[in-house]
Subunit: 101 residues, 2 copies
Amino acid sequence: MVTIMVQVRVKPEFVDAFVEETKKNAENSLLEPGVLRFDILRHALDPAAFLLVEVYRTEQDPARHKETPHYKAWRSAVEHMMAEPRSSSQYVKVFPPEEDH
Amino acid sequence: MVTIMVQVRVKPEFVDAFVEETKKNAENSLLEPGVLRFDILRHALDPAAFLLVEVYRTEQDPARHKETPHYKAWRSAVEHMMAEPRSSSQYVKVFPPEEDH
């Protein structure tokens, strides 16, 4: 199991559009067999700052996700909405041991 | 629902001890009625970097957590293990709408 945290800051005028596009991507991503979770979080103090919490079954699944039509459509749709380049970090779970779902 | 992400970097010699103390804190925290999740993640490329993902039922629950004996015991046990001060950010969930458990 692999968790990828993607930090995103969008231009203020695109907050709603970003949420709409990212929900579509999240819903479709959850249909991928390798995707266990795809949460969209918004910073409590900064409405233009988001954190995507993507949990994959195996180390190969993030790359597979990036080949899907819904990921490519999302990437293109949100490209002009970014206030700064996205950054991401990969984590492995230490606790709890069990799968979420 | 409120998510708090706590970034921790420990001194390399304390990695195992930090994991042990933090598991104890996580197990006890999950018994609090206001705590929905308490995940310990380790950075895939940096074994001394951790991310604690704490999900609380309400906005009041993080403060209640900080009053518990297990939190206070953890804070004191790990204090000398920190390589740098911890940082934390609070998030609200945008998607998916349902509770995790």
